[in-house]
Symmetry: C2
Subunit: 330 residues, 2 copies
C-alpha cells in the first residue's frame, strides 16, 4: 500500500516518516498487517536535513491545495494519509485567507479527493488543543465544547467535523488527534507564542543562554516528539469501531509548569545548564499563553491506548539522545 | 438600511419578513434605531402564498450559492442578513454534495462576500439543535460539545465556527441561533422525521385524521413560530458585546412529550379533535427521533433574553389564531 504524509517535512512529519520506514507496515482495521510499498512525504518545503535514502520513499515538494498536486500524490493504492500540512497558528491569524485556503478548504479538497478514490482510505488528521479556548472549565474533559479563539483553532475544529462526517458516511476512515504542545521541538526559537516551551530546554542544553518570556508558574500541556509519532501510528492502526460516535480525540499529555521544566533540567543535567536561563516576562506573549488550556482529563484518549510521557526528565533525556547525539553542552 | 433574508420563502422566513415590515426598523449595536428602507426576501422558490405588497419589499428568486446572485442581493447598505437558506436534514443526508455546497460552502461564500463589503454587517444564522447528537448528557448544557450525527448538523456546526471566527476578526457581527423543533409548522405533513411534531396537532385541528409514527412518551424540544421570529429579531438587536467568546446560542424551548401535546390539544379543543389521532409506531422514524436531544438547560439563551413558550396550549392557541383564522375543525 501507499502511505502519504502531507506537511511531511516539518519535524514531526520527518520523524513519522523515519518511523514508518523502520516499521515497514501498518495494521488495517481487520487486524491484517499491510506492507508500506511506497511512502510519499509531501510538503511545500524540502526536508532539512534530508530524509534517509530508501527505495520506498518519495519526497515531493508542492502545494497540496492544488488539485493537480493531489492527483499526483494520491492513487488507488493510497491506504493511509497522515494529514499534517497546515498554516500554523500565528500564520493563520496574520493571513486569514491563507489559513482558510490551506487549513479548511485544502483539507476539504483532500477529503473530497480521498472520497472519490472509492477505497475508504484511512486519514489521520493532526488537530490541536487550539480547538479549545475562551472561558474554559478548570479541567478540559472529553465532553468540553470547542470554542476556539484563533482562526487556526476554528479551522482545525471545522476540519474535525468534516473528518467525522466523511467517516460516518463511509467515505473515509478518519481519526483526528488534538495535539498538545510538542516539547522539545528541535531547531531554533521562532516567533510562535509556544516557542518558549521548547526553547527553555533546548537552548541551554546546547550551551545557549535563553530569556524566557513567561513566568515560572506558567502551565503547559505537553507531549514529546517520540510519543506524538507513536500516537499517529497508533491512531492509524486502531480499528474503526474503537472510535464510536466521534473520530476526534484529545491526546493524553502531562501538565507542567515552566518551573517544573527548569527543575527537571536541573535534575538531568549539571547546574551550569539551568544557569543559562533568565526570566523576562513579555506581556504580549503572556496574554496569548495564559489563554491556553493546560489541564485535561483525556479519559477517552487513555482508553483508546494513547500514551503520555511519564515526566519532563524523560522528555529531556529523549531529546538528548535523539537530537544531541547523547550529550549536552556542559 | 437594507435587510436580507436568505431562504426567506420558507414558513419562518415569510413570518420574519412580515414582522420586519411591521416593525420597520432594527436597533443597531449603539442602541440607534435604523429604518429598514429595503427588505430583500431571497429564496430558490417563490413565496406561497405571496408576501404582502410593500414598497420596501423585493422578492427575488435565485440560488444564493451563485456569486453573481450574491452580488445582486448584497450591497454597501446591507446592514443585517438573516441567513436561513439551507438544504434540510433529510436532503443533506440523501445528497451529501448538495448539502455541502449549500449549507457549508454557500454559507462560507456568503460570509466572505459580506466581509468584502467592509461594513461589518450583522448576520443572524439559523443553526439547529442538530449540532448535538450521539452520546449526550441527559440534559444539554451550554458547554456540551457538538457531536452531530448528520451531515446537516455537521454543516451547521462548521458554519457556526466560521460565524464565530469572522466575528472575532471583525469581518461581520454574527449570531448563530440553535433552533429547537419549530411547532406548529403550517402546511402539509412531509417526509422529515420531525414532521409528526407539527402534524399531530395541525392535522386534527384541520379535521384530518393523523397516524402518529412515534410513541406517546417520545420527547421533543419545541419552540413556536411566533417565538422563533421574535428570537431572530432579538438576536439582530442584541449588542455585539452581549455575546462574549461565542456567537452561538441554544434557544430556550420547552420539553414536551407527544402525550403532553395530545393532552394540550384536548385542553384547548373539543374532544372530537383528539379523537382524530391514532398511534402506529414506525421503527425507522423512531430510530431517528430517539437520537435527538430533548432536554436542555439553555441558561445562556435565557440570560441573553431569548424566550420560550409557556406551554403547549399557548402554542396551539397561537396556531389557531395565526393560521386557522381563529377557529378549528370541530
Amino acid at each position: 500500500m501507499q502511505v502519504l504524509i502531507t506537511g511531511g517535512c516539518g519535524f514531526i512529519g520527518k520523524k513519522l516518516a523515519v518511523k514508518l520506514l523502520e516499521k515497514g507496515s501498518l495494521t488495517d482495521s481487520s487486524g491484517v498487517s499491510r506492507p508500506i510499498d511506497r511512502l510519499i512525504v509531501h510538503d511545500i518545503i524540502h526536508p532539512e536535513p534530508a530524509l534517509p535514502d530508501d527505495p520506498r520513499l518519495t519526497v515531493r515538494v508542492g502545494d497540496f491545495t492544488d488539485p493537480a498536486e493531489l492527483d499526483a500524490i494520491l492513487g488507488p493504492d493510497t491506504g493511509v494519509v497522515f494529514h499534517l500540512a497546515a498554516v500554523v497558528s500565528g500564520g493563520a491569524e496574520a493571513d486569514f485567507d491563507l489559513g482558510m485556503r490551506v487549513n479548511l478548504t485544502g483539507s476539504e479538497q483532500l477529503l473530497a479527493r480521498l472520497r472519490a478514490l472509492g477505497t475508504v482510505p484511512k486519514v489521520v488528521f493532526a488537530s490541536s488543543v487550539a480547538v479549545y479556548g475562551g472561558e474554559m472549565p478548570s479541567v478540559i474533559q472529553d465532553s468540553t465544547h470547542l470554542t476556539p479563539q484563533t482562526s487556526y483553532g476554528n479551522q482545525k475544529a471545522a476540519t474535525e467535523l468534516l473528518v467525522n462526517d466523511y467517516s460516518r458516511k463511509g467515505f473515509i476512515d478518519g481519526r483526528s488527534l488534538r495535539l498538545p504542545t510538542i516539547v522539545i521541538r528541535p531547531g531554533k526559537p521562532n516567533k510562535a507564542a509556544s516557542s518558549f516551551a521548547s526553547s527553555i530546554l533546548r537552548e541551554p542544553l546546547q550551551g545557549t543562554p535563553y530569556v524566557c518570556p513567561v513566568k515560572p508558574d506558567t502551565g503547559v500541556w505537553v507531549l514529546s516528539p517520540r510519543r506524538v509519532v507513536e500516537a499517529f501510528i497508533h491512531a492509524a492502526e486502531l480499528p474503526a469501531d474503537a472510535w464510536g460516535m466521534s473520530r476526534a480525540v484529545a491526546l493524553p499529555g502531562i501538565t507542567v509548569s515552566v518551573q517544573d521544566m527548569v527543575d527537571a533540567l536541573g535534575q538531568v543535567t549539571e547546574s551550569a545548564v539551568v544557569g543559562r536561563i533568565r526570566f523576562e516576562p513579555d506581556p504580549g506573549i503572556e496574554r496569548i499563553v495564559y489563554g491556553w488550556a493546560t489541564r485535561f482529563d483525556p479519559e477517552r484518549g487513555r482508553r483508546l491506548g494513547f500514551q503520555a510521557d511519564n515526566d519532563m526528565a524523560e522528555i529531556i533525556r529523549a531529546f538528548i539522545d535523539d537530537e544531541l547525539g547523547g550529550d549536552y553542552a556542559r
